[in-house]
Symmetry: C2
Subunit: 455 residues, 2 copies
């Protein structure tokens, strides 16, 4: 009895249509990365567990897929101790950032810094599968390492702007800066409560001013500290106006009168970045958003998040700057900044907004029906293919209805039916199945056929 085939939960097959749509996203992203001089690299699916463990927190360690040592994995194992660490030395890539850091350190002598790289590869997480969360999914990461200039932050914003312009999706780019959040906690007098403060601020739109202040109180902030935060919650106006107001607060103008050097530095970075964005010119809105709480445990400067304006889904890109990406592998003081495109969510946005180009549905442009006249149609097919036109020949001389059905199911827009008469006359029929228009060509006149097929 044959087994009923299936795939592991949380993994997916991608058929022709979905693969074409996904490649449209990947190809668009890749083409933009390239115009900014980022070069692609690839790292192995398996990394040593020593590279992966301890990089994603305790929870992350549990979500790593471990690969059983080959050979007799259990030979020599001590069964009185936990077995997994003894019988598994390799794990599947959990993200692209740690392998990138490992790559930079391992190959530091071959790399020209600043090193601008992108990487589009699958990652694996033993998460509980649920809607929109998979155990295997692609990440598209673009990072530059070895430069502290805000030009790098600018380029990431430009890349996002260009990618979504090409995909015809309106987005908003939100920018925060970890140093400003540090500064806010400092002028409050609660420098260890950066995360609590930011997470509370993040709820302002949903719950209102009073509820945010309640939460801050619950988290242990004093009334004086909350009085320092309040003007930040009431911040309004243009980015320039907000930056100026924040600068005044960080420079001793808050209720506490404390000056935060970190906060001022963060504002310098934001001001420079927004100045560069104005000079470069981008199509999509770019906003300062001090409530952006992504990656507070590792980002040290800019923090980015991108949301689709016309489709309700979480963030579709995110990233930021980390001052010591490679330190854990022995290369200190390497500042990097990067952004990651969430392919699955972008896919859902394009699907939801019906933004995939029509041509993706069929790869094939023309079906040459098989009427038994292969020696006549084979050179025609060869000439059109050499000119880049995707052409299929129906393999069997089957009934014409069956061949039409095949063209229909594959949404092939043109069909060519040539019997012995056409072969004798050296004439090729081409029919546009959408409009019904039919024309006849000299079998050697590839250029004329191309014009009709591409017209």
């Amino acid at each position: 009895m044959a087994q009923k085939p299936s795939i592991p939960k949380g993994t997916r097959d991608f058929g022709p249509q979905e693969t074409a749509e996904r490649n449209y996203i990947f190809d668009t992203i890749r083409s933009v990365f390239k115009t900014f001089g980022y070069a692609q690299i690839e790292t192995p699916a398996m990394e040593n567990l020593s590279t992966l463990l301890g990089k994603y927190g305790d929870e992350g360690d549990k979500l790593l897929f471990r690969i059983l040592n080959s050979g007799d994995a259990f030979a020599g194992a001590d069964f009185s101790k936990p077995l997994a660490p003894q019988v598994c030395e390799k794990g599947l890539r959990y993200d692209l950032t740690v392998p990138f850091a490992r790559f930079v350190v391992q190959h530091q002598n071959e790399i020209s810094f600043p090193f601008k790289r992108f990487q589009i590869q699958p990652v694996w997480r033993a998460d509980r599968p649920q809607k929109g969360r998979y155990r295997e999914f692609y990440q598209c990461d673009v990072d530059v390492i070895g430069s502290k200039s805000q030009v790098n932050e600018l380029e990431l914003v430009q890349i996002v702007d260009r990618v979504f312009s090409l995909l015809d999706v309106r987005v908003v780019v939100k920018i925060n800066n970890r140093k400003v959040l540090t500064g806010l906690a400092e002028i409050c007098g609660f420098p260890d409560k950066v995360v609590d403060i930011t997470v509370a601020i993040d709820k302002l739109d949903k719950v209102g001013l009073e509820a945010v202040e309640d939460e801050l109180r619950e988290k242990g902030l004093s009334a004086q500290a909350i009085a320092v935060v309040e003007p930040v919650l009431k911040l309004s106006g243009t980015t320039e106006e907000k930056l100026a107001a924040m600068r005044a607060l960080m420079d001793g103008g808050s209720a506490s009168g404390v000056v935060s050097q970190a906060g001022l530095l963060g504002l310098d970075e934001l001001e420079e970045l927004f100045g560069l964005i104005r000079a470069a010119g981008v199509k999509n809105p770019v906003e300062m958003d001090l409530s952006l709480a992504r990656g507070l445990n590792y980002y040290t400067g800019a923090i980015f998040e991108v949301k689709a304006l016309d489709f309700p889904i979480g963030s579709i890109c995110g990233g930021g700057r980390y001052d010591n990406l490679t330190g854990i592998f022995g290369l200190p003081d390497m500042s990097g900044v990067g952004i990651s495109f969430g392919a699955d969510r972008i896919y859902d946005v394009l699907k939801g907004l019906e933004k995939f180009p029509e041509g993706l549905r069929s790869a094939t442009r023309l079906l040459l029906a098989n009427m038994g006249e292969l020696p006549f149609i084979l050179p025609v097919a060869a000439a059109l293919r050499s000119a880049g036109v995707p052409v299929e020949i129906y393999p069997e001389a089957a009934k014409l209805k069956k061949q039409f059905d095949y063209a229909d199911r594959k949404a092939i827009p043109f069909i060519s039916i040539n019997g012995s008469e056409e072969a004798a006359a050296g004439r090729v029929n081409l029919k546009d199945l959408r409009s019904g228009e039919q024309r006849t060509f000299d079998c050697a006149d590839t250029a004329a056929m191309l014009a009709f097929l591409n017209g």
Copy 2:
């Protein structure tokens, strides 16, 4: 103390240069697959072990990478029995053929047959790593399933011919047919010795006629049987002449006088295929080679092998027809034929023959030096990038020597150095670093800059 980073043995990092070169191969192959109407699919890296086990023989089962169940993999395990089958339910993809068969059966109701698919993904084998053999490597498979027509075999030959024409590598395509080998064993009177006979014949060029006959004797063939094989060993002339001679032998004209229906059917297929190849016209030589012994355990019709003519390496493509690809998953009578491109060997051939295009060395066409005039150069960069030119801006206003060094190390062919004078005049300098030619452009004249940069 930081750990020294490394990757698992048998796996590889691909840096920018190597990734660009590999993508050149993949993109070429993909573009050709598409012009023949093959559609790309992707399957998960992990398959259920029940899908994989027993499909590659005992040796293959040992070479599967097994993934430890997540959670407490050892909970409930019976330690008196082998643990691996109890604690691992998933394995990494070992090839693309079994996942393809599984995909076809699982999605049979969504697929239009004949189903023409290609797949370019990594596979993993726990082989002992050695030169040219890796534990993670890419396969590029193109297959059609659900059609017995020789037009499919023809297309695979055309695809090979076109791919290597585009890659500028001269190849020979060798074709055999399993049914002819079956026929030969039948007319010998040793129908169970197909593999022994073919393997012995395969050594003819290396060891000569007598040694081959010695081997056949050692394998248990009688003198009469060897007398039947002898004319095959002495076969010469054109493919047509060889086919005619083989037909006479299969049709009762051999020393045994036995008629082989299987052999005659195989010769019909070969004759039809070579006729189609002549009608279609291919650039590279295509030969019948009865000694081709690839995949004798599973191929049932055509057998293909491709070798580079100007570079000594094993076969760079291989494939064939299998009459019952999906039977093991419960879908009988699905005949398929396919071919697999060996990306690593093709890479070695292109490297050895120096056939990689020059442009691959640098992705970036122009470095805009950073002289502190960012508001002037940012719009220039944006305009050129929108036109598809890969442009970098040096992120820091560093010393010019450092910026030149960067362009040099990355082999960026053009540099643009614009200080306050150029900014004031609205003029952009462009210098071709290879020829030394330098020109000045109006900063708004993107078209003229493009012509110079692409010229």
